[in-house]
Symmetry: C2
Subunit: 400 residues, 2 copies
């Protein structure tokens, strides 16, 4: 039977992942140094602690955690999260757990998006989310990312244009901390301005915050969600993940927001997954309860900080002064802006000969809004010495 003719419209339109195919094209290059991935370093995984916790939880709490759990999340995990997010003073009805951030974002988007609705996002932004919104039928309006985050002037202009054009804007999607792909962190002033604009135009904010805990230097800034809570405003929903803190294979994340939204997200969760893995939820809950997170974050910082510094130092040392790059204080990525007439896509092909790779900047834009003169480098997978060698190879491409 030929299934293609009966697939749904949204399924027919979907292509395979461009980034996946790019990465696949570098397979088999011997001695390749890759800055392409978005994978955490396995050195950060707390295998010993987790091995013991999994054993304990299944042995002692198996009758509970092997049974069906609530779509809203494991109560022990949720209580541990409420304690951890003390600043936000959450009720249980304001938080839900999920299979990675992706799952919570998908359910949130299902709550709002009808075919043709607009979502505003940073451009560039995280591709995984962008394609999920597009697959649901949303149109995306990208906003430029400056050194201190989303351009708030352009944001207001675009909102006004869309409203004048009778378009429905369903929410603003932002990654304010060590953004993927740019590494940029939104300033406090811009966070406050974003909340103001959201209130003024009655548009909810979805704050995607997977890297917030990965700060290696500098000063923590309150999340957009925390700032809004302190102002008693319910306009922000926040999603946070343990993927970069414990290990992405555990698919552990949670969403916080107005209880009206969380209840609707839960209704979708019932239909999409029933609940996330109850064993893993309880394990992460016990990990938090036993105050094991601080030491884990310290360990991550000790592993990633030298890599970040190695990359920043090597860029300074080897790269031509005509290039500009971001200087993040945490996260996993650095973004290099190329000269206006240079394409990251072409550079990607040339880089294969030098046995180094990265993701071309164009891959991180909503469809039809691509810019080409940038590349994304990941610094968390390779060790500092490899990073220096990789940047050296990269620099050679600019001397030809």
């Amino acid at each position: 039977m030929d299934y293609k003719k009966i697939f749904s419209q949204s399924t027919r339109k979907q292509g395979s992942s461009m980034i996946r195919e790019l990465v696949a094209s570098t397979r088999g290059i011997e001695g390749l140094i890759s800055f392409a991935g978005g994978f955490p370093s396995p050195k950060t995984f707390p295998t010993k602690e987790l091995s013991e916790l999994y054993a304990d939880v299944v042995k002692n709490e198996g009758c509970e955690v092997l049974q069906y759990g609530a779509s809203e999340g494991d109560p022990v995990f949720k209580q541990a999260l409420i304690n951890y997010e003390i600043k936000s003073n959450l009720k249980a009805s304001e938080i839900i757990t999920s299979v990675g951030s992706t799952n919570a974002i998908f359910a949130y988007a299902k709550c709002f998006i009808d075919e043709g609705d607009y979502v505003i996002c940073e451009a560039p932004s995280f591709l995984g989310t962008v394609v999920a919104f597009e697959a649901m039928g949303a149109k995306l309006q990208g906003i430029e990312v400056e050194d201190d985050g989303m351009d708030m002037v352009q944001l207001e202009v675009e909102i006004q244009k869309l409203i004048a054009d009778n378009q429905k804007i369903k929410f603003i999607y932002t990654i304010p901390e060590f953004q993927n792909p740019t590494g940029v962190t939104m300033s406090k002033i811009k966070r406050e301005r974003l909340i103001e604009l959201a209130e003024l135009y009655d548009i909810p904010i979805l704050e995607d915050n997977p890297y917030g805990e990965l700060r290696y230097c500098g000063q923590r800034i309150d999340s957009i969600f925390e700032i809004a809570r302190m102002q008693n405003k319910n306009i922000v929903t926040s999603v946070k993940s343990f993927s970069k803190v414990l290990g992405p294979g555990m698919r552990s994340a949670y969403m916080m927001g107005d209880e009206v939204i969380i209840a609707k997200v839960a209704l979708w969760m019932q239909k999409i997954i029933v609940s996330s893995d109850c064993v893993t939820q309880r394990v992460v809950g016990r990990f938090l309860e036993r105050n094991m997170l601080d030491a884990q974050l310290q360990k991550i910082s000790e592993i990633y900080k030298p890599s970040l510094n190695a990359m920043l130092d090597a860029l300074e040392k080897y790269m031509p002064s005509t290039l500009k790059w971001t200087k993040p204080e945490g996260g996993m990525f650095i973004w290099i802006t190329l000269p206006q007439d240079m394409s990251g896509d072409e550079l990607f092909e040339a880089a294969k000969a030098e046995k180094v790779c990265f993701i071309p900047g164009s891959k991180f834009y909503p469809k039809g809004q691509e810019k080409y003169n940038a590349i994304r480098l990941n610094f968390t997978f390779a060790d500092p010495a490899t990073i220096e060698e990789g940047v050296k190879r990269l620099a050679r491409l600019f001397k030809k």
Copy 2:
């Protein structure tokens, strides 16, 4: 901000779970005997074995299983499944893992359903799936369930009617083994006829098979998927779950089918969850590899068979002869058909006074196709003595 006015159409239409609310209404009744749930007995959970496997997997394979995994599923788990499903002779591209069956069914449905498309299902059927299809905008056409499964004559009549009416039928959804809610198993002849009809009218089949391994007596019948594979037909997709075999909290399941469909399901999985929990996937994979499943199924049968028999015996002994009920050889449920003029919903309210509960049959139908003269009893959660007492209480309702 008032979110209600900007929720998506499909979100506004969703109600909360009727079954949940029913069950909640019996909370606080002291000494209640419940036949309402669909929960496996915690006595069946292999906590010791799983505790050890979780510890081993995270300790020895942590670097792999704590890392991001493929949306198609953990390769070790998939290989173990391919070996387990030896009769179907699967390629890796014909199988994908999921967060419980619900997740795979949701992704499969996303591949096919556009607003207004038809799905054909048994009536009654599993409510969780029915409401998920409805939430995606599908219309459902229910087909009556006879003692040997879906009525094939009515099925063909309804297919012809819908085609004549220019409706698009996207797939036929069936639970052929110990069906939820009726406990009915589809005969081999009907399975073969279903495949014939599917081929004749070019309509794929989605076989939901969570109870197939829970057979306590009688003869195993090849699954619809297995029969179609042996006939070299790619028209059936099958989803199976470890929820009733190991523990639903682990959310472990998998889908098998034509590789064109599985590839599309994987594209949706990327957007919905990225992948299911890699730790749990590997644990179930090792459980299968080490041939621990046979003993586990044996243990389950030893626990559930006395309960099934206790319920069948008690029904025979205490219930009026005017009632009819199914006599399943496995699974978790028995379906009682009441006299035509009696309502399971009204009986539910009356039963509270007798401190016994169940789910009224009307809750298992597509919207607008409800029938009222039936109730569903679960026999896997209570022990045999409690089951007898519960049926006694139930029988009293018919003497008033």
